[in-house]
Symmetry: C2
Subunit: 143 residues, 2 copies
DNA sequence: TCTAAATTAGTAATGATTATAAATTGAAAT
DNA sequence: ATTTCAATTTATAATCATTACTAATTTAGA
């Protein structure tokens, strides 16, 4: 869940046009708690935008990543790239079996950020923090 | 840099054979500070093992990941999977300008791992922790 | 040595992503 | 309103990492 205006303003401010397709992709990114793939977005929007092309979805996501408005999560074990509209430092937790990716709040992660900054002298822009393991449901199935 | 016996023992203990190909892959994983891809490993070993197959590299890496002896890092922007022989919790820090990736030790990150485990009920296998920003050298250049 | 299973090599198949080119759209200027 | 030009979309082809498959090879144990 996120503020859609962050996404749309990022596009407009950089001189890119806010087309209906891009608007719909931003709406979906802002409205979901999931960490969608390009294909999932494409399938969600196809009923409303029958002419939508998968290439457009990829182009828009690439633009938003380049603007820092969303993050690319890298493959979570299923070989496909997931995206995250939440660019605030937080923890992603992926199940290697069912491939769900959930968000986790963390108290300690803020200490890590300042630790990194102090120890390295880097000016930090963001972070992608992905833990992976077996979720409780898949642990139960495995038995 | 890592202890090769951790890798070889993991293979042997699970009943898998320690073939020359697998031994060579373990040596390479243990000797490097990089985060190698399957293709990089293949190209490194081909001079010494001209008959080595890329499929064998993938099979061996898959086995080591399954045993928890190495971690799969997921694609970090270049579309290829990287592996990390360092399974101890640590932080990768990437410079968005010069694209170097360095490792950072962290005290707080261990607390995060136990926090994640306790809060989620997941059985954790590993983590990919990447901070990105501008390194001191590139900050100086930017001025 | 002999046999059965594991492993490897080589190659084909898969599937996500990207590149390309033609068609469409949109904004500005006339 | 029309023209023009660049941005965008669409459709499809190409690419590239990875997986699947099969035959050949190797290994461990009888």
């Amino acid at each position: 869940m996120n503020d859609i205006s962050i996404l749309t303003k990022a596009l407009q401010h950089s001189g890119l046009r806010l087309t209906p397709q891009r608007m719909a992709i931003c709406e979906l990114l802002a409205a979901t708690d999931r960490h969608p793939t390009a294909l999932w977005i494409y399938e969600q929007l196809r009923p409303r935008y029958p002419s939508l092309s998968l290439a457009t979805v990829y182009h828009t996501l690439e633009a938003l990543v380049g603007l820092g408005a969303i993050n690319e999560l890298g493959s979570a074990g299923d070989g496909t790239v997931h995206y995250d509209a939440n660019v605030q430092p937080h923890i992603n937790l992926a199940c290697v079996s069912c491939h769900r990716v959930i968000d986790l709040p963390s108290e300690h992660i803020e200490h890590v950020a300042s630790e990194v900054k102090d120890a390295s002298g880097y000016r930090l822009f963001g972070a992608r923090i992905l833990y992976y393991g077996l979720c409780p449901e898949c642990q139960a199935k495995a038995i």
